[in-house]
Symmetry: C2
Subunit: 336 residues, 2 copies
C-alpha cells in the first residue's frame, strides 16, 4: 500500500477497502472460510451448515428518511445472511456509545432494532454495551453479527457463475445512498427520497426454490451495484455486461444524480440484492420476485460475458460500452 | 433511570450497566435467550445446541503490558464461550478504525488476533472494516462475536447453584485492571504487573469432565470478581461468603491496591474464571486446575450460603463480615 495511514477511503467498501483487507487481514488470518469470498462465512457446526456474518454500523446521521441505525443494523446483517443462502435466525448486538448520548435516542434505537428483528423473523439473542468518553466516538456505533442455517437446496458461490447467466437486481438502485446524502447536506427534492432499508429474507426464500439455477447473490451496500458486480467479476473470472436502460431507477434519484454528478450504480442500497441466475430461469424468477412488495421492481439488467473476464461493462442506450470500475475510494463516507 | 444521558459508568459492567441493559434492552428485546442470564446465548440451530457471544473492545491504551486489543478481543470472546459451556469454534471481527490510524499498528493488531486465534483453537472466519473521520473514534474499536458447540455433558446455569457449593477462582485476581491502569497513568512497581490476558479453552475442557458437578461459571472482566459474584447471587437467589485470606493475589497487586486505594476484587481480569462447583468435588477440581499453567493458582475462595440471599459477604482475616456490593459505576473506564 502506498499510504501508511488509514484513510476514509479504506472504509468505502470499494477498491481501497479490498486492498486493505487483502494486505492486512487475508494474509495473516488465512483460512478456508475467509477465502470463500462471500458476504459471510459458511461453517460446519457439528452436523449443521451455518452462515455467520458481521457488520459494524457507523452511519451518520443516526436517523434518516426511511430508517435509522437500529433498523439498518438488523436488516444489514439479515440481508448478508440471505446472500449466503441462509435462513437468518439469530443476531447479536455490540453497542459502542459516546458519553453524553441521549437515553431517549438509545431507547428509540433499541425499539427500532426490536421491531426490525420481528419483521425479519430473527431474534436479538445477546448483546454488549461499551461507553467511551465524549469526543472518542460519534453518538453510537452498532455491530451486529448474525447466524443462520444454510438452506440445503442452495449453493451460492461466485465460481458457479457461467457465461450467458443473467444478472437481476431486485429493485430500484441508489435510494439509501441518496437519502442519507440529502439528509446530511440538507438537500430537498421535489419528491422526498427515502432509504430502501428493508429485510430480504422472503426474497431469499423465494430464490431458494430455484435451487442451483441461482448461482450467486450479493447485497449491494457500500460501493453499490457497480462495486458488487466488479467483485463478482474478479471472483468468478467472468465479465458482466449491464444495460443502462434496464436498470430500475427512480426518476427523482436519476434527476438528483445528474444534478449532483453522482452515479446511482455506486450509491449504497440497503434492501436490494444483485442475483446471478441461469439464463433460462431468469424471466420466471423476475416475475416471481415482482409478486413480493420488497422486490416488485426486479429486473434483468445484464448478463455474463466470458470475453471480458474480470470486467464490468455498461452498455449505454446508444449501444456504446464503457468500463464500470469498482468504487475507487469514497463517494460518501459513513453510509452504513 | 435518574439521568437521561449516557455516562461512562453505564459502560462499567457494574450496577449502572445492569440498570441500563434492563431498562433499555431487556424490556424491548424480550426473548427467552436474553433471559438466560449468561455471558452469551444458548441457541438451537437445527439439531445442534450452540453458544453465541459478542463483545466490543474499546480499551485504551491499545498495547499494554501482557497484551494488546487484538489478543484481548479474541481471548475475551473465547472465554465468554467457555463460560457458556461451549467449545469455542469460530470468531468474527468487526473493526471500526479512526482515519489516520497507522497501518503498521493495524498490521500488528491483525497479527496478534491471528496468533491468539491459533493459540485458542478458533478461526477468524469473517470480518468487516469501517473507517470514521479523525476525531470520531479513538484509534480502533474491535467487536468480536464467537460461536461454539455446547458440550453435551454440561449445563451451566445460575439456578443450578446450591447452598454449600464452593466458589473457585482459577488464579490471581486484578492483574489486567492494574496493568492497564499503571500503563495509562505511567505508574511503575518494583515488579512490573502484566495483564493476565489468556484463553481458557483448556480450563473449559477440564471442567467439562466434572459434568453436572460444575454448576455455573463466569468470566470476571469489567467489575471484577465482586461484580460477577453479585450477578450470580442475584440470578441464583443465593448468597456467597468469600474468605479474604483465600483470594489468590499477587503481592505486587496487593501493595499497589493498598497504595492506590483500589480493591482487587473489583479490578478486571482477562484470563480467569469464577466457578461454582459441588462442595464434594471442589478439592479435586482445584487440584486438577493447578496442573494447567493458565490455572495453576486456582483456589477455593468461598461458598454458597442460603441465609444471605442476593448478597456477597467478604469474611475478613479477623472473622468480620462486610458486604461486597456490585461495582457502582466505574473504577476504571475502557478497561476492555
Amino acid at each position: 500500500m502506498r499510504t501508511r495511514k488509514i484513510l476514509l477511503g479504506h472504509g468505502s467498501g470499494g477498491r481501497m477497502t479490498q486492498e486493505l483487507v487483502n494486505s492486512v487481514f487475508k494474509k495473516t488470518w488465512a483460512n478456508p472460510y475467509l477465502d470463500q469470498m462471500l458476504d459471510g462465512a459458511i461453517l460446519e457446526v457439528g452436523s449443521q451448515r451455518i452462515a455467520m456474518t458481521t457488520d459494524s454500523f457507523v452511519i451518520t446521521p443516526l436517523f434518516f428518511p426511511g430508517g435509522d441505525i437500529g433498523k439498518l443494523s438488523v436488516y444489514g446483517t439479515v440481508n448478508d445472511l440471505v446472500a449466503c443462502g441462509a435462513r437468518p435466525l439469530y443476531v447479536s448486538a455490540g453497542l459502542i456509545i459516546e458519553e453524553g448520548f441521549g437515553v431517549e435516542e438509545l431507547e428509540k434505537i433499541a425499539a427500532s432494532m426490536s421491531k426490525a428483528a420481528l419483521e425479519a423473523g430473527v431474534q436479538l439473542v445477546t448483546g454488549d454495551t461499551k461507553v467511551v468518553e465524549k469526543g472518542k466516538a460519534d453518538g453510537i456505533f452498532i455491530n451486529t453479527t448474525g447466524i443462520g442455517i444454510i438452506r440445503t437446496e442452495v449453493d451460492y458461490r461466485p465460481d458457479r457463475i457461467k457465461p450467458g447467466d443473467a444478472v437481476i437486481v431486485t429493485g430500484k438502485v441508489g435510494e439509501h445512498g441518496l437519502a442519507v446524502l440529502a439528509q446530511r447536506e440538507g438537500l430537498s427534492f421535489s419528491t422526498p427520497v427515502t432509504s430502501d432499508c428493508q429485510p430480504l429474507h422472503r426474497v431469499g426464500e423465494l430464490l431458494a426454490r430455484y435451487g442451483q439455477e441461482v448461482r450467486c447473490m450479493r447485497d449491494p451496500t457500500r460501493g453499490g451495484v457497480a462495486t458488487v458486480l466488479n467483485e463478482l467479476a474478479q471472483q468468478s473470472g467472468t465479465g458482466f455486461i449491464v444495460r443502462e436502460e434496464d436498470i430500475p431507477l427512480d426518476p427523482v434519484v436519476q434527476g438528483a444524480c445528474e444534478m449532483l454528478g453522482l452515479d446511482a450504480l455506486y450509491l449504497a442500497n440497503e434492501g436490494k440484492m444483485v442475483v446471478v441466475v441461469a439464463k433460462d430461469a431468469a424471466q420466471a424468477i423476475v416475475e416471481d420476485l415482482r409478486q413480493l412488495p420488497e422486490s416488485r421492481d426486479s429486473a434483468v439488467i445484464g448478463y455474463v460475458k466470458d470475453e471480458v473476464p474480470g470486467l464490468v461493462l455498461l452498455e449505454t442506450e446508444l449501444g456504446a460500452h464503457r468500463i464500470l470500475n469498482m468504487l475507487e475510494s469514497d463517494q460518501l463516507p459513513r453510509i452504513c
